[in-house]
């Protein structure tokens, strides 16, 4: 297996800083903003974005965490049920602008599940999507509003995002199978 480093620590920091500025610009500030990180690695990414946005705009931004397991479309398949993780949406999202945050956008099925989950918590005015890496191969009509890096991949390749808070280091790897 060959590994290629797509983003290192500095690249990730720069990408998040740029995304934060784009979020603030597109929404003309952060007044009605709620960031919701998707389990697992979307959560630390959402927290980092919130920190940067707080610095830019000088006000704190609520951050939620969402586990979409129970909304997945493959639960009809027999097999061991995935472990559930914590969901915590700390504010009423009705009327707010929710930015969903995830590490990798791939088929779009997880985002579809997250949208369903979100609607059970209220009716946001708008939902936007921020991802660190968009690797293509969508199976649903979903696109990201903010992208750290677009990476054309083959389905046989794997994207591995490692974050300090979860994995002890910051890097994004492209793993190619042996020919």
């Amino acid at each position: 297996m060959a590994e290629v480093v797509l983003l290192n620590r500095t690249d990730i920091r720069r990408a998040l800083t740029r995304i934060a500025h784009e979020v603030a610009e597109r929404n003309q500030g952060t007044a009605d903003l709620v960031l919701v990180g998707m389990r697992t690695r979307g959560v630390p990414l959402a927290r980092r974005l919130a920190r940067i946005l707080a610095e830019i705009e000088g006000r704190p931004i609520p951050v939620g965490e969402l586990d979409v397991t129970l909304y997945r479309d493959d639960l009809t398949v027999r097999g061991l049920r995935p472990a559930l993780q914590q969901t915590d949406i700390p504010v009423d999202i009705t009327g707010k602008v929710v930015v969903l945050v995830d590490d990798v956008l791939y088929t779009g099925r997880t985002v579809r599940a997250a949208l369903d989950a979100l609607m059970d918590f209220g009716r946001p005015r708008r939902v936007q999507l921020a991802v660190l890496v968009d690797r293509g191969h969508r199976e649903l009509p979903i696109r990201a509003d903010y992208v750290g890096k677009n990476v054309p991949t083959s389905r046989r390749e794997e994207i591995q995002v490692r974050l300090e808070e979860v994995d002890g280091t910051d890097e994004v790897l492209l793993i190619k199978p042996e020919e």
Binding site: L70, L75, R78, G79, L80, A83, D120, F121
Partner: protein, 332 residues
């Protein structure tokens, strides 16, 4: 002993896997659960409880699945709790009670559940006056069988919700002194709780008149280590959890009690008696309560009572079980 052979087989007891997932198809009692498996169910239930607090407390995880409540004995809270749990996960629910079904025409238990299966049941929740009936059912159908109370034998979902409530309140189960008071002899709740509580490391004390304590539990040969105490005051010394059981008045007619008044005098859980328990002690009751008999009204509705929480938690625990069982049996 034969009953154990019919159950789906023990999971890797004492397994130290960080997440001992639930790999079973049926929930018949807690005797074949490992401590890790119980913890896994309780952790899942905590996530389910969060769902119940949402503005729209419903997810689609079990969409297209059907749960049949098959009750051969009356029940309100357990049946409704299973129904709410299944609906919160998006499943369909059919309620069947023995009265008004083909059972009154003489259909056998196995034939009835085979019919339910043919009609598309994925989960059969069964309550039956005969101990062991759910085991018989589990041997004959592909659907998941959940024991909602069989005779005097077991009521595993009640025990799990009690464990969940205790753990939620104290942050742990290990090291707590839990006193179960009253008619232990006829109590499936007490039996399942003994398994669950001891597996999670609680110290269990059974207390009641000698006529209402089963001899096998007093001699404790077939049961995990527990203490039997006939004096309630002594039993309550330092107790963290006090669990009075419903006293069925028919027991007096059966000659097991001199009088209900004497039972109240010796075994009612009331404020005065609770003063001997641990300062942080709580009171739980599996319901339905006879207020003024096994428990005084002020205690039942007082600040130490977790009884209402038990009911809410019951839905979350049953959601967790339905979710975990819905994957079918997973080998390896």
């Amino acid at each position: 002993m034969e009953l154990k052979i019919l159950s789906p087989g023990p999971t890797k007891a004492g397994s130290l896997l960080p997440d001992a997932r639930v790999r079973r198809r049926h929930v018949l009692d807690l005797d074949d659960f490992s401590a890790e498996e119980i913890e896994y169910v309780l952790n899942t239930a905590a996530r389910m409880k969060e769902i119940l607090g949402r503005p729209i407390p419903r997810v689609a995880a079990l969409r297209g699945r059907t749960l049949v409540n098959c009750f051969y004995e009356e029940s309100t809270r357990t049946r409704v709790s299973f129904e709410l749990a299944a609906k919160a996960l998006g499943a369909d629910v059919v309620n069947m009670s023995a009265a008004g079904s083909s059972v009154v025409k003489g259909e056998s238990l196995v034939d009835t559940v085979l019919t339910l299966q043919a009609l598309g049941a994925d989960f059969v929740v069964i309550r039956h006056p005969q101990s062991g009936a759910p085991y018989l059912v589990a041997r004959h159908i592909r659907a998941s069988v959940i024991n909602a109370g069989d005779g005097w034998h077991a009521h595993p979902t009640q025990a799990l919700l009690d464990l969940f409530t205790i753990r939620e309140h104290f942050g742990r189960v290990v090291g707590l002194k839990v006193v179960i008071v009253g008619d232990i002899l006829h109590s499936r709740v007490a039996r399942s709780n003994v398994w669950g509580l001891t597996k999670l490391g609680a110290q269990v004390v059974l207390c009641g008149p000698p006529t209402l304590l089963p001899p096998t539990m007093v001699s404790a040969e077939l049961w995990p280590p527990l203490t039997v105490e006939y004096d309630l005051g002594r039993a309550l010394e330092g107790a963290h959890v006090v669990m009075p059981l419903r006293l069925q008045r028919e027991r007096q007619q059966a000659g097991l009690l001199p009088s209900v008044r004497e039972y109240i005098r010796l075994y009612q859980v009331n404020a005065a008696r609770l003063s001997r328990a641990h300062p942080d002690a709580v009171v739980m009751h599996p319901g339905p309560m006879n207020e003024g008999i096994e428990i005084s009204s002020d205690v039942a509705h007082g600040s130490r009572s977790l009884i209402e929480k038990q009911v809410t938690n019951g839905v979350a625990v049953r959601m967790a079980l339905l979710y975990l069982l819905s994957g079918g049996v997973v080998e390896g």
